[in-house]
Symmetry: none
Subunit: 199 residues, 4 copies
Amino acid sequence: MQKSKGIEDLRVYRTRKLLQQAFIELTEEKGFAALTVRDITERAMVNRSTFYRHYLDKYDLLDQYLSEISGLFDDREGQSERSSHEVPSTLIDLLRHMQQFAGFYRAMLGAKADPLLEQRFRQKMEKRVLSCADQARSEQTSPPGAPPINLVYTTTAAAGCSAIVWWLEHDQPYPLEHLAQWLNQFVYDLSGSSLKLNG
Amino acid sequence: MQKSKGIEDLRVYRTRKLLQQAFIELTEEKGFAALTVRDITERAMVNRSTFYRHYLDKYDLLDQYLSEISGLFDDREGQSERSSHEVPSTLIDLLRHMQQFAGFYRAMLGAKADPLLEQRFRQKMEKRVLSCADQARSEQTSPPGAPPINLVYTTTAAAGCSAIVWWLEHDQPYPLEHLAQWLNQFVYDLSGSSLKLNG
Amino acid sequence: MQKSKGIEDLRVYRTRKLLQQAFIELTEEKGFAALTVRDITERAMVNRSTFYRHYLDKYDLLDQYLSEISGLFDDREGQSERSSHEVPSTLIDLLRHMQQFAGFYRAMLGAKADPLLEQRFRQKMEKRVLSCADQARSEQTSPPGAPPINLVYTTTAAAGCSAIVWWLEHDQPYPLEHLAQWLNQFVYDLSGSSLKLNG
Amino acid sequence: MQKSKGIEDLRVYRTRKLLQQAFIELTEEKGFAALTVRDITERAMVNRSTFYRHYLDKYDLLDQYLSEISGLFDDREGQSERSSHEVPSTLIDLLRHMQQFAGFYRAMLGAKADPLLEQRFRQKMEKRVLSCADQARSEQTSPPGAPPINLVYTTTAAAGCSAIVWWLEHDQPYPLEHLAQWLNQFVYDLSGSSLKLNG
DNA sequence: ACGTAAGCGAGACGGTACGTCGCGTCTTACC
DNA sequence: GGTAAGACGCGACGTACCGTCTCGCTTACGT
């Protein structure tokens, strides 16, 4: 029972890590779409058939990788009280994480991205980003003639994502905290589109 | 004299139209990424090798098609005076065009899109959408601590695009004019993020 | 009536000559098998579709060319009496002709030849060469156990052809008359295989 | 230990045999020149791409096949003493082999042959046939005015080949031993062309 | 510590799509 | 009417990946 699941065979662990590492490197270098399984396995110094023992295809590899790091997109703060203009610390954490793997995320979301992945990724981020918006929105009420709330959600998320991508693709030209502040502001502004400010 | 160059061989015209038509249909049906040249030529009832006489590959076909319709993204109004909250008529035109080819644009920008194309497309739209923003911005001045203007550009465009895509993918649940109004509002709001309102 | 058949349209004449000339040059340069119709027409500075107005394909072009020069293979001397060891003057003529178009014949019969053509050509030459053999044979009678006469024919022709090809491919290292003498000798020798010398 | 290299993967062996077999059959049926890779693979019930894993093209397939059977052209008797008019047993072996694969050799050397192959094949046979001639020649001396020895070589080989082809194409109308006898005689006769008989 | 079952390397195989090339047919305009 | 120009259907080519499948070797695990 020592070997409960999760403590895999070392060889398995090594192989998967090598493949993941090669995958990330190559994604940065030439983009996800241009990758072939052969590329990955050659870089990882692993036999091509071994790849298929662990993953269905490169999409599956990405999936599993995203799953591993998806915890970082959760807003662990719950519904703690905070003012709408205050930057939530989890947003800072998210940005920090993306900053750390900037190459990968740039490849994942930027010019050479795959649309499927991009969308999957955006959806994750969407949820995450919007947990901030909830704060803002809860303080407001909808006026007549305002856009539907779902549209505002989507739009806000897209704005937030694009801002982050811009930041990554321009090599993080501003401090992370500034970006966080601006993101927060965007969310607030767009929420305001459909909402009348209280008071 | 009618047949000066520009009025091409009728066969050429026919072939290209058939290929374009098949391409658009299939893009709607199964998405750009899943398309093969064979798919297109079979649908178009044209020999596969004939495809290569006109296009380098499916990307080139898309390119040329986008070029043909790109005129629709120009803001032909120039810098006519209008209030920042007034919806420009060219925005209406653009939306009308996209509404007309909703299937294609949905495929092009939605879940089954190719990222490269999506980006190219977004860039076109970006320019277009931002010509509205210029109006809004020109009436304002930048406060200290505001995000850089390029970031605002990009973010605004992404927001605009995503709103339109949302509208297309939800089968245009609101009148075109409402969407235009909201888009205008988003631009205005986001511009406001970095700008202090005059007066 | 001025334009009786045979005096073709000058354009036709020019086109055919250009094509023939290009064909011969290219056959020497890269061999018949490697030729394409495009090669020929480009060299001849004639449109490819024009080629098909005159010839079915490159084989047909060769055919017609061979027809034009086939007269040279006829033994116009008839059955004039001559001793079997005397070299017939028409053999000299044939070798002279082949010497003149050595490049073409080398290509036609040598390493880069097409087998079909080679055979057709050999058959022509076979008849020609064997008209000499008839002389030799007529002076002899068949012994028992001798090879059938058809086999001797074929074998003799192949020997004669190969001798000529050898001569062409080695850049005619001996005077034409020597070769003719040797050829004659070969014919005589092989005929002797199946025949008992008289007296 | 059985599976040392040389005893290849059974699948490889099977595939190559199937391809070879199909190749030979089709060569007999429609000639080498008219063959396509697809023809061969369809007949062999093998995927077309698999063909290219083993051979560069159909020429390569032929090459390798000829290599496999080329041992049969060697004169393994060495320089054992024998009279010039005695038929060497290896000649009998060669003819027996060609008789066995008469269809293939007929296709390879006859009307539908490819010239390149034909020549390659003739060269092999040339060496073989001439090992007999060496016997004959060694007993003789060159008279003045005789053709050069290389010419005699080539001519003799061509004569020998054509005799065999004639025999194959006429469905072996005479016993193999007779043909061998005649071949031997041809070699002897042609050698005599350039040589004076001793004594 | 060591036997054994797994992971793994090696690579054959059937597929599918690619982009290229050459063929022979054809239409149209020019002269 | 001959020719240039060139579109077109056809079909073979050789290449690149894909995902599946043995088959032995080797190596980490568990007793």
